[in-house]
Symmetry: C2
């Protein structure tokens, strides 16, 4: 719904009156960081970044914008890979930042739950859980800057999903402000509640297009007390998938992370990121970073890991392995893994995919999709890494050595379509954990059925009939 300049001006005036100067960012210099997405794909414009300090504030802002038909772009830590939190270039959308709503409202260790506001940094959520001898398992590279509201709105996945699931699996209840300013008070510390339709999961992963998440009740777990971390050289993706199944079986399902790195990912990370080293002397085709952990003092676990690795070495599923002997060694292994995105950025232009297929299909998917990419860009450098334990690869292609970035990026649409076509054949996902935002709207239209899209549009119409919530995102 297009809004008129007069309506936008009227909305700004009323929002100023509600939030006061502390809740309104209007100076161009201060607004600037809200206009560019994390990857630098989009540069938008806005007359106002509204920073409410309470749920009631959010409700008033949305009621005003709904009445006047002004678009609202919810904004968390601005770490979206798909432009989901960036306003359009038209400059007639308000940005709604949740950053002032950053309180941990409550940690209930006995109930293994906590309640936090949407603007809490993920790292602060983790820390508050630890302080109560509990564990909040969501873990992402961006945890120091992303916000829990954004994590829930995009249904973030990350590094521990193989054991603990994605953000959706970790939410007990939500407080949500609807487009017209009404509030769903769905905060809940219950494990079971079958009273009517599941509204919670509708807002998780909806990227702020159905309502604005203002607070959440989260599941906590006992703190992990025994953690073993191995870095394993493997002959390729097929061996990695087999090793995963063995590790799950051998350790009694204690695998918390299972990350795959091809050789080039290790080379880029050690080359570009200071302090990153290759933990194994000889180079190998690929690697797995495998962490197993239990919530008890578990002297048996190390032996189970070693025995499983020993057997894998004998069977050729593993070629070499190191096990972290100290917290510092563990941190170094994780730094290697977490440096890959930064290293890939430093290496120049890249074409990215965030895909998933059934875990057992990865060994067929990777060579097929690689061949499809190389048929288009024969010298493209495949950097396919990530969460093998969830069937989720960041199936990226870096610019050929010595070639021009923009010429390479011109192949992006063809490469996306070729990869997504193979994903569809495996009934996979074209956005496993990064969401749709603005970037993948058109791809979504090709990927989901007409029925699915119709139902999504019917729900959007039912919840946001004037279309003010994050306009032009998610739905094609």
């Amino acid at each position: 719904m297009p809004s008129t300049p007069a309506n936008v001006a009227a909305a700004i005036g009323r929002i100023r009156a509600v939030l006061g100067p502390a809740g309104c960012i209007e100076d161009a210099r201060d607004v600037a960081p809200y206009l560019v997405d994390f990857r630098g794909l989009y540069r938008g414009a806005t007359p106002l970044v509204a920073c409410p300090a309470s749920t009631a504030d959010v409700a008033e802002v949305l009621a005003i914008c709904n009445e006047l038909g002004v678009g609202v772009v919810p904004h968390g830590g601005n770490t979206s890979y798909c432009g989901g939190a960036t306003p359009h270039e038209s400059g007639d959308e308000i940005v709604l930042s949740l950053r002032r709503m950053n309180r941990v409202r409550d940690v209930d260790a006995d109930n293994f739950s906590m309640t936090v506001e949407a603007g809490c940094l993920l790292a602060d959520v983790q820390t508050a859980a630890e302080a109560a001898d509990r564990f909040f398992p969501l873990a992402l590279g961006s945890e120091g800057s992303c916000q829990i509201g954004g994590n829930l709105s995009t249904n973030a996945g990350g590094l521990n999903a193989v054991r603990y699931g994605v953000a959706r699996d970790l939410a007990l209840g939500l407080e949500v402000v609807l487009a017209d300013g009404r509030v769903i008070d769905g905060l809940s510390n219950l494990r079971k509640d079958n009273t009517g339709y599941d509204l919670r999961d509708l807002f998780i992963g909806a990227e702020g297009t159905l309502g604005v998440i203002t607070a959440a009740s989260l599941k906590l777990f006992p703190r992990l007390r025994t953690i073993e971390t191995a870095f394993v050289a493997v002959p390729g993706i097929g061996a990695a998938v087999q090793l995963l199944a063995r590790m799950r079986a051998a350790t009694g399902d204690a695998v918390t992370s299972f990350e795959y790195l091809p050789r080039i990912a290790v080379e880029l990370a050690t080359h570009h990121v200071p302090g990153v080293t290759d933990p194994i002397e000889r180079p190998y085709e690929a690697y797995v970073l495998c962490e197993v952990a239990t919530a008890r003092d578990d002297p048996q676990l190390r032996g189970l890991l070693e025995a499983a690795l020993g057997q894998a070495l004998e069977d050729g599923l593993a070629l070499d392995a190191v096990i972290a002997e100290s917290l510092a060694q563990r941190a170094a292994l994780w730094k290697l893994r977490e440096s890959v995105p930064e290293a890939q950025r430093a290496e120049g232009a890249s074409i990215k995919h965030d895909v998933s297929v059934p875990v057992a299909a990865l060994p067929r998917f990777v060579p097929e999709a690689t061949a499809a990419v190389l048929a288009i860009v024969p010298a493209g450098r495949m950097v396919a890494y990530g969460h093998v334990g969830d069937g989720n690869l960041h199936f990226n292609v870096s610019v050929p050595l010595g070639e021009d970035g923009s010429a390479f990026l011109a192949h992006a649409p063809a490469i996306h379509e070729a990869v997504h076509e193979i994903v569809r054949r495996y009934r996979g996902s074209i956005s496993a954990e990064h969401g749709i935002g603005r970037l993948k709207r058109e791809a979504l239209a090709r990927h989901r059925s007409h029925v699915d899209l119709d139902v999504m549009r019917a729900i959007k119409q039912a919840l946001d009939p004037r279309g003010i919530l994050n306009p032009g995102k998610v739905l094609p």
Copy 2:
């Protein structure tokens, strides 16, 4: 939406043509079992039980009924406690039985997933998983007769939810037929998929009012290899909750079941159900059936359990305990627990609640709610038992000894309201795992906010605009 007799007759004629005689039950004797709910609360009428053999059949039946405005009541194993699968007395609704759609379509052990049709018995789903050396954790007293489609439609909980969550947590994807016959093909063996709104969770727990689940992709887990089962006498609910937290911590979160039984539950079960025995010689106030399990050969686990119980005995949290020494002893303990509903039925009239509160609030909730009940029926016998690990109690009251059942049942509305009022104060649920069906529609209207109910109605209107799906269920 009321349907005319002519429309009903027209629908039946067209459905007969689609399904043939094998798919139509019309003889009064054969129809009879579909007309009464499990608890005998409702007795409905229907001119036809349609038994489609395929998703395409279901789609045709729904398209016909939608066109003609004829109500359809989806029907699984008929184990609903809330009348959710029983047609109304008016006799103008078609019953749609999923029982012929009972194939296990696929078990993928490597991907820890399986795909089953809605009419599969839960026990058959469990067995198919076991045959692939995998574990499907949903477990209910009625698992030999309930169907997985019903389990998902009601978001069933059961005995292992403390560790593995409820039905919602175990579903990867759904195939659903919409009111107008269009099919959402959402079967998925993916662990991560963020491509648009979460349609799956809208249908889980919607009790067939938004669409008919025809098949599901389910999560599997490694088979449990070490299981220890203890029956522990405790001084009361407060000690039980403290013991739960200790057990979770001491065993590294290995608690799979944690069931609470007051003394009277043991007495009723041993009295009414042949073969049930009291495992502890002396009577105690209350008991916990606690099972801990891991998916590995875990010689340490028994010792951890014994040490935790030993400490609990010293601290007065436990008063006595037995640990099952054989599969037969384990089965006997479970038979005691699972006989309680049958024993309570045999004991005569009872007034039931299926409530949850935060686990840590149970020790305050139970005495308060007990006092509220006894203020209304001073001689009522409290049989509050169940899933303490989830904060979910079947907070039931049996008729006073020697009193008339129907006089007692006349107190039901007052008792329900008194208990639910206390539940609300703890931000609990008035239907933790049994759903709403027809029984709790009016209670739902008091329990959920106007905003929640409005959103639910908007979703219902968006997905089933003619109101043919399970009319008069769930939504007030």
